[in-house]
């Protein structure tokens, strides 16, 4: 196993708001890390600091042994990133967009074509490849966003809510894809869906008010719930860790 993503005491302040307070993450090759937390807990901000979109106020992020702040170009070429909301250029066609990303990643000619084809196939975009983004459903946009992050076959994938807005069938497909990709990569995916943690993640990290409050396997997370809870056990643990008030739980 090799360490592919590491954050060391990552902090981010926005004016007076201390959004991320000393987050330490270590993700090895072969791990799919589910990044959980209530809205505004600091998930997206942490991911943005790992990808170099935001500069940490303190601490550092490392991708495949490269310090993101010191050598951003090298770090960025080793990761694929799906930003929150899967932003896209409304007037661009899916194919054109993927070709643009491919060129940005340094591919040309037949290599570029092959990579775009493969990306289109991997998330089933054939039907919409000639459509512009403004005509696409939320699900297709999200899938194009995933395709774009996979184009250069990076060892690290950072996916901000990859299954948000997908229907159950699409969710199933994307989750199988992530499981498969996770075998020889390090993946961090943020999600609100605790079922996703059980379905695809090898590890779960829960962050609340900018601090990590849980780091362990889904099984360990499950074990934290009292035996009396029979259904939605992860939900129970999540609520307990992020709010401290659980109906029928400890005072």
């Amino acid at each position: 196993m090799s360490l592919l993503v590491e954050t060391r005491d990552l902090h981010k302040r926005f004016g007076g708001i201390h959004a991320v307070r000393g987050v330490n993450l270590r993700v090895q090759r072969g791990e799919v890390l589910g990044f959980l937390g209530p809205n505004g807990a600091g998930k997206t901000t942490t991911m943005r600091m790992i990808t170099g979109f935001l500069e940490p106020t303190d601490g550092s992020a490392w991708v495949d042994g490269v310090n993101v702040a010191l050598d951003p170009l090298r770090a960025k070429s080793r990761m694929g990133y799906l930003p929150e909301g899967a932003p896209c250029y409304p007037d661009m066609r899916v194919e054109e967009f993927l070709a643009f990303i491919g060129r940005a990643r340094g591919y040309r000619g037949t290599e570029l074509k092959a990579r775009v084809e493969r990306a289109i196939m991997s998330v089933n975009l054939s039907l919409v490849r000639r459509q512009t983004f403004e005509t696409l459903s939320k699900g297709y946009r999200r899938r194009t966003g995933i395709a774009q992050s996979l184009l250069h076959d990076p060892p690290v994938l950072i996916l901000d809510e990859p299954t948000d807005g997908l229907d159950p069938n699409q969710k199933f497909e994307v989750r199988s894809l992530i499981r498969q990709l996770g075998k020889d990569r390090a993946i961090i995916l943020s999600t609100h869906l605790l079922e996703e943690v059980e379905a695809v993640c090898t590890r779960a990290v829960i962050i609340n008010r900018g601090t990590v409050v849980f780091d362990g396997t889904p099984a360990e997370m499950d074990a934290k719930a009292p035996a009396s809870i029979k259904v939605n056990r992860l939900d129970h643990v999540f609520r307990e860790l992020t709010t401290g008030d659980v109906p029928g739980g400890k005072p």
């Binding site: 979109f53 935001l54 170009l73 932003p87 007037d91 060129r103 774009q148």
Partner: protein, 245 residues
Amino acid sequence: MIARTLVIARREFAAYFATPLAAVFLVIFLFLAGLFTFNIGSFYERGQADLRPFFQFHPWLFLFLVPAVSMRLWAEERRTGTIELLTTLPFRLGELVVGKFLAAWGFTLVALALTVPTWITVNWLGEPDNGVILCGYVGSALMAGAFLAVGACISSTSKSQVIAFVSCVVACFLLLLTGFPAVQDFFNGWAPRAVVEAVSSMSVLTHFDSMVRGVLDARDLLYFISVMVAFLFMNALLIDWKKAL
């Protein structure tokens, strides 16, 4: 490095043609350029074979049209969130800034190139000094570049294209007017002499006018190039600064 800059330039250039913006801009530009030259500029009545009436209105035409080209450069990326995608791709900041600028400049050069029939007309009607006309075109292209750099820089500060447009018109207007007496008077009362002189030499008009007269002075070239470099540099600083906010 150049290859990556061109990747950006190519996407941005195509983006102009993906919407009606390109067609609207080109038609309005050509219509107004023709109107100013032939009607208001009395091209025929002057009885002189040159393009002075054509170039003389360019600063005022560019004042409103160039900000329309530059306003979307960064503001749209911020609004749609694609800036996050763009800045996490393996590009250097300079490549993004210059690539976007080159696309916008290339687009205005297309507009300028489409006025070549006017040049042909004046050659057909008489025997103009083509060196002077070429110098005028170079001046016009440089002025458009300077305005675009200002516009790109302003576009990077806002999510709103409307704000970017209006602020850019005002900024370019100031850049045009600094040579005018009213502006000089404003600074005369309180600012040191060096500042007053600096302000007057900052006017786009003075530098453009001498190029339209056919005088290719290194100082004019240097002026336009420094405006472009300064504002593009500021553009990059602003983008980088937002990252640390």
